[in-house]
Amino acid sequence: MVDLGLKTLLHDKIRFLITVSGVAFAVTLVLVQAGLFVGLLDNSTITIEKLGADLWVTSKNSPNLDFVHQFPESNLYRARSVKGVALADNLILSFMQVSLPTGAEETTVVYAMEDFAAWKMPWNVTAGDVRDLKRGPFVMLDESAVKRFGKFAVGDYREVNGVRLKIVGTSRGAKSFTTTPLSFMDFKRAQELQPQLLSEKTSYILVKVEPGADISAVKRELEARLPYNDVYTGKAWAERSRGYWIVNTGIGFNAFLTVFLGCLVGVVVVAQTLYTSTMEHLKEFGTVKAIGGSNWDIYKMLGQQASIAAVVGFVLGYVPAQLLKPVIAKADLKLIIAPELTATVFVGTFVLCLLSALVSFRKVAGIDPALVFRT
């Protein structure tokens, strides 16, 4: 069978290139923007996921992980007394000031616990041992802090809230939504560094339930015993934190707008080139009808051309999006192009390209058959 649609599409190589370039540009734009958005959201809750707590006890109405009020650390004992609780620990999360050798000051998000090792936090230690944090005025910094704090190494000292702390280890991949670098220190050390705010206080209680225990039942019991706190499952707390950034900061709307514009660019380019091509080939379509073809034969041809533009454009857009990953990582940002996102963008590209072809379908349906006789 002679493939008139394919051959016509490839016959005008420049037009084909313009069409697939438009689709590819849109695909790259959507993948990168959506991937960056997912990456940012992933940063915002990565510690929730890595800590792996079944339940999070938070201060009342905390909007997200980073913006918390403190509450009495002694609440921990009530939590530990609940049936079904296997492990419960306090976690302080607080912003502190780091004095740099240059004289400048930067902010760090401090995570402080009694026993980091029990919670496998930080999850990717690149130097040192997290158990050393209890042995003196020590701190561990995430490697991503280099960009803000300048180069540092194990054995160096940094002043945190006016107190010299020795860097005893480093981690990798621990980030926050705001890109403020993370540091880890002993629970008591954090309270000493910020006594007005943190003395005898904690930011969270992390809970792991016993194997086989009913998480909902444990949650209900914790809520009953800690009426001035909220209790979330790990998943619910992560969703609430992400939801805050999406809804309250405009970042969600911004990402949606860029994705929408990317789609619009793709649709306009494909619709325009297909329509222009249809107009230029109108006489050929008329000839197809005259020699026995139907509108359906022409629709199939246009649909095939739109599908090819979608597939080729998607591939050409997907590759640069993947190649941008290391470049974006250098800017300390995370580009996450998950298989679900890839599949969604592919299906979206395909559907939108086919919808673009509809404009041409209408034109073809209205072709004056006598057009074939015109010179």
Binding site: M1, V2, L4, K7, T8, L10, H11, K283, E284, T287, V288, K289, A290, I291, G292, G293, S294, D297, P369, A370, V372, F373, T375
Partner: protein, 223 residues
């Protein structure tokens, strides 16, 4: 046996608030294997009549029968079916698909008529041989002369043995010597296979190959 029976065909078009009658009772009968030249001045309704006989347009009134099938008042699907089974077209500007080779242009017409694969390729190649273009089968239309393009168009019109071939000024884009060759080839092939050939033309050379010439004037067949 008649392959075209058009009786008292009228066709009107709306132009703004006015109704313009282009055909005012045109009647024409064609026998199988007959070659007829349809002549007439510009605006006389030649192309409209050809479009109706080719099932590209519907008549406003009158009856039209192609290869024994009534097509006046028929729905678009029926018209398309009759075109596919019974009619071949040759156009003044050849109307070849520029992205297809000469052979593929002929083969594609076969595909539309339900012939695929090797059968379509061999039939198309045979027709290319009959129009003397077997050695140009793989050429794109842009690499062919005007005469060669019209030969490809004739081969395309002949595929799947239509009862009726309608040609619109087939020599108008060709120089005189080539036009003569094309007309000879065209009429020979039509007669050999007992196809009715209706050629709309201004070219007096067409009369030489036609069994008869009819004239359309002011929407009516004059003689």
């Amino acid at each position: 046996m008649h392959t075209i029976v058009a009786e008292d065909v009228t066709k009107t078009f709306r132009e703004g608030r006015e109704t313009v009658a282009v055909l005012k009772g045109a009647t024409l009968h064609l026998e199988a294997g007959e070659v007829v030249a349809l002549e007439g001045p510009s605006g006389s309704g030649k192309t409209t009549f050809l479009s109706i006989l080719g099932c590209l347009l519907g008549a406003t009134a009158g009856s039209v029968e192609i290869a024994g099938e009534r097509v006046d008042g028929a729905k678009p699907a029926k018209l398309q079916d009759v075109r596919r089974r019974h009619i071949g077209f040759v156009f003044q500007q050849f109307n070849l698909f520029p992205a297809l080779t000469a052979l593929e242009n002929v083969e594609y017409a076969l595909n539309l008529k339900g012939v695929d694969g090797k059968a379509a390729e061999s039939q198309a190649l045979e027709l290319m041989r009959r129009v003397g273009l077997a050695d140009r089968a793989k050429f794109l239309p842009r690499d062919l002369s005007g005469g060669q393009k019209q030969r490809v168009a004739i081969a395309r019109a002949l595929v799947a043995s239509p009862s009726v071939i309608l040609a619109d000024e087939p020599t108008a884009s060709l120089d005189a010597s080539v036009a003569g060759e094309i007309l000879d080839l065209f009429s020979e092939l039509a007669r050999e296979e007992r196809r009715s050939l209706l050629i709309v033309t201004h070219d007096p050379k067409v009369r030489r190959v036609a069994d008869r010439a009819v004239r359309i004037e002011d929407g009516r067949i004059a003689a």
